[in-house]
Amino acid sequence: MRSPHEVLIKPLVTEKTTDLMQENKYIFKVHPKANKIEIKNAVEVIFDVNVIEVRTMNMPGKLKRQGRSVGYTSNWKKAIITLEPGQRLPIFEE
């Protein structure tokens, strides 16, 4: 069993994700091996909120070049978490 802080790596803050917050959806980068149930529990434990839905996707690493050496960045998992209406995550609050 992974600890909640191991599951949630960091929130993604981009133009798109800030727009999605209007729909009470929050986007996280999560542990690539974490499943939806783990993610749901982690969010509920850390932020003390109720999660309605978790959708995940695997993001392939990008091809990077450094001179003549070629490699990939790590693959990672992205999770879209929908909260119960009225609840919010304190991502921007200090």
Binding site: V13, T14, E15, T17, T18, F92, E94
Partner: protein
């Protein structure tokens, strides 16, 4: 908004201004909109990052400069409005931040010089000397003589000897010890006898020549001649006179009047000149009178003028000078170089004048207040009309421009001062 007033020293006031949090928040919001366009936040296109994201990343300080620029002048103006019965600012304020914390009102201090208290002295019944505006006959004669000179005709003289004031057309060949030298020859040169354009002695020796005559003129170059090799040398110029012309003044009669003016008779011309001279004299007398009474009134009053007011006036004057020089095509720096003055010397030179002007303005303003002299709307319109004529623009247009630039109050101020001077003159004892 809360304003507390403290007098720091004479004519200097410190305002502590408290801007409510919500008000300051507006300024911050404005600042955010400006700043966000310039900064990069990963995950967002330029200018698209929400304020909270920017704040988390760079801190609130990033908005401060812009926010203060927005908030301070507004608050300062409002504060001035509140204390305007007691104080009028005459210098730009110095600011000091007291509190710019989050979730708290924004507090800052503004310190500035105030318009000094004026203790008026006597300004009614001032004794001033009247300046004569009569036009003397000699002045008119002199004026007419000038016209005659200007309209004189050049008559070719055939047989007479040339005398002082004549115009000669000459060819000349100059030699030093039998050798021609550079610049020593000329053809068809027009020379006025007695104009001293040539080496001393040259013109004098040509007195009495006639057309067609050839004469050797012997002169010695002066010690300090521009061309060094020639100085103190003796030269012989062979001069051939090709033409002698003489200025002929027209006889003073109606014919002359007709030629030089639109008047039919000499009498009328004289009258016209007399009128014009009188007008100039009157204008000048009026100007002198205004200057004199203003000076007297100012001298009688007691004011402690803040340094900054004099400084401002000085700056204005120096700018004026620089501007005028520039218009004449002389850059200000160059002028300073040429006259070997430093800008500080110049300031020192203009200082007394600046001080007097500032004092006069303050005193006149106070008198206007005392006597309830104000510029009326019609007078302002009148003034604008005059301006419009001067710049050949439509009156409405000028009005609009002035209003946009906020110049109307200064026009009003000018009219008010003028009227005040009028008032003082009215009350004055003219001798």
């Amino acid at each position: 908004m809360k304003v507390t007033v403290a007098e720091v020293s004479k004519n200097r006031v410190e305002l502590t201004i408290e801007v409510p949090e919500e008000k300051f928040e507006e300024s911050l919001e404005k600042a955010y909109r400006i700043v966000v366009k310039k900064i990069n936040v990963p995950g967002f296109r330029k200018g698209k990052a929400p304020r909270i994201v920017v704040e988390n990343m760079y801190g609130r300080e990033i908005f401060m400069e812009e926010a203060l620029q927005d908030a301070i002048p507004k608050a300062y103006e409002q504060a001035l409005e509140e204390v305007k019965d007691k104080y009028t600012a005459v210098s730009s304020p110095e600011y000091e931040m007291v509190q710019i914390d989050k979730k708290k009102p924004f507090v800052f201090k503004a310190t500035f010089d105030t318009k000094p208290e004026v203790k008026l002295g006597q300004y009614k019944g001032l004794e001033v000397e009247k300046i004569a505006t009569e036009v003397k006959d000699e002045d008119i004669d002199a004026e007419i003589e000038k016209m005659r000179q200007r309209y004189a005709k050049l008559i070719v003289i055939e047989d007479e000897e040339a005398c002082e004031g004549d115009f000669l057309t000459i060819d000349f060949v100059g030699k030093i010890a039998g050798e021609p030298f550079e610049g020593g020859t000329g053809e068809n040169y027009s020379l006025e006898l007695g104009s001293h354009t040539f080496i001393p002695g040259f013109e004098e020796q040509l007195l009495g020549v006639k057309v067609g005559e050839t004469k050797d003129v012997v002169v010695t170059f002066p010690d300090e001649y521009q061309v060094e090799e020639l100085a103190e040398k003796e030269a012989v110029f062979t001069v051939t006179v090709k033409e002698v012309k003489r200025k002929e003044l027209a006889p003073l009669d109606d014919e002359f009047a007709k030629d030089v003016s639109e008047f039919a008779t000499l009498q009328e011309l004289r009258q016209d000149i007399a009128n014009k001279l009188k007008k100039t004299a009157e204008n000048k007398a009026e100007y002198e009178l205004r200057k004199a009474v203003t000076k007297k009134a100012a001298e009688n009053a007691e004011v402690e003028i803040p340094e900054s007011m004099i400084e401002n006036r000085l700056n204005q004057m120096i700018n004026d000078v620089a501007f005028r020089l520039n218009q004449q095509g002389i850059p200000f720096e160059k002028y300073l170089e040429l006259t070997n003055n430093k800008i500080d010397d110049l300031r020192e030179m203009y200082r007394p004048e600046a001080e007097a002007l500032v004092k006069a303005d303050i005193v006149l303003e106070k008198i206007a207040q005392e006597e309830d002299i104000q510029a009326t709307a019609e007078e302002v319109d009148e003034e604008i009309k005059k301006l419009a004529e001067k710049y050949q623009q439509e009156t409405d247009k000028i009005h609009e421009v002035l209003e946009k630039q906020g110049q109307i109050p200064s026009i009003e101020f000018g009219i008010m001062l003028d009227k005040t001077v009028d008032f003082i003159i009215e009350q004055a004892n003219l001798k």
